[in-house]
């Protein structure tokens, strides 16, 4: 069978009429996004003013706002056998500036879960962007580590329902890595002291290094770059606390029975501004 040969579209002058587009990320100083590390009342007008401070004359229909909400990481549990906390589950949605509701935009930034000696870890809090019409861009915080496999799996199941992509944390004492998110905290038994999990493990260039040594914290994400996350903290033995989760969203490692589980990394909200434009 003969494949029909496509006839090239031509303008009246005979030129093929090709348009070249690109998406250009607007830089804010050293940052490739607008960053919120604490809860803030802002507005569409504030965002427009920030953009105009960098570049004027853009059409609101050509400005894509990539909102990335990142909840806080969960704390590790504490005990002779204890699980690390779970990673936050980031969520992002893009809106063109022209389609964003006029009025207030509320940014809530979740605080990391805290650990307590001899107890389970507290859950990290959600981060969210709330628009004037009530619409939200919401990221669930990571659940706290527990002291038994049944509860840990129950929280893991909830995490998957929110979009977590890492493995079941009861399958291995080293905290699971996330392919596209923060890392989980390391777990422990009297016989084994688990490391934390990598963040963004799908890509070696953007992965965050977890805690490996006793109680070592997970690394924080490079703050200038959007879409990177904290790694998981290591667990601890010998009476020491669990390693803290990296910022943003990494989970804390399990602590020894006499010491607290590691604190989860705080959350964050990032807005990347992407300009759609014609090259020629």
């Amino acid at each position: 069978m003969m494949i029909p040969y496509p006839s090239p579209r031509r303008t009246s002058s005979g030129d093929p009429g090709t348009l070249l587009f690109r998406k250009r990320v607007l830089a804010f100083g050293d940052f490739d996004h607008i960053k919120f590390t604490e809860s803030t009342l802002t507005s569409k007008a504030d965002i427009v003013a920030l953009i105009n401070g960098i570049e004027v004359g853009l059409d609101p229909r050509q400005i894509e706002l990539r909102f990335i909400s990142i909840g806080a990481g969960g704390a590790g549990a504490s005990g002779a056998s204890a699980y690390g906390g779970l990673a936050a589950i980031p969520f992002e949605r893009s809106l063109f500036l022209a389609d964003v509701d006029d009025g207030d935009i509320i940014i809530d930034v979740g605080a990391g879960g805290l650990g307590t000696a001899g107890d389970i870890g507290n859950t990290g809090s959600a981060s969210a962007v709330t628009f004037a019409n009530g619409s939200m861009i919401y990221s669930q915080g990571g659940f706290g580590g527990t002291s038994d496999a049944e509860n840990q799996r129950a929280f893991y199941t909830l995490s998957v329902g929110y979009g977590a992509q890492h493995a079941d944390p009861t399958l291995n004492l080293d905290g699971p890595s996330s392919p596209y998110g923060p890392g989980c905290g390391g777990s422990r038994t009297p016989a084994y002291t688990g490391a934390g999990g990598f963040s963004n493990n799908v890509d070696v260039d953007t992965a965050g290094y977890p805690g490996f040594g006793f109680g070592e914290a997970g690394s924080n994400a490079p703050e200038f770059i959007a879409g990177r996350y904290g790694a998981g903290g290591a667990s601890n033995a010998d009476g020491g606390p669990g390693g803290a989760g990296g910022i943003p969203g990494g989970a804390g490692g399990a602590g020894d029975a006499a010491a607290a589980g590691g604190e989860g990394g705080r959350g964050e909200v990032q807005i990347q501004v992407i300009v759609w434009e014609i090259i020629r």
């Binding site: 590390t37 604490e38 009342l41 930034v109 979740g110 805290l114 307590t116 859950t123």
Partner: protein, 64 residues
């Protein structure tokens, strides 16, 4: 601890989150977390100046 706040649903009194900083608005109030309340978590309640562990009755809702 000095920049951590309990986010409280004004009608149910449940603590729905702990946030870095605070944005009070209609229906949602904030109270600062202190070293004395470090153990207080999501699902507890704040009423009449005191915190109570009500997490067994707490059903998370994403829009609060």
């Amino acid at each position: 601890m000095n920049n951590r706040f309990f986010k409280i649903d004004s009608s149910s009194r449940f603590i729905t989150a702990i946030t870095v900083g605070q944005v009070p608005r209609d229906g949602i109030e904030f109270i600062q977390q202190t070293p004395e309340t470090a153990h207080v978590a999501i699902g507890w309640s704040y009423a009449a100046g005191g915190f109570t562990d009500t997490s067994a009755d707490y059903k998370p809702r994403r829009n609060s």
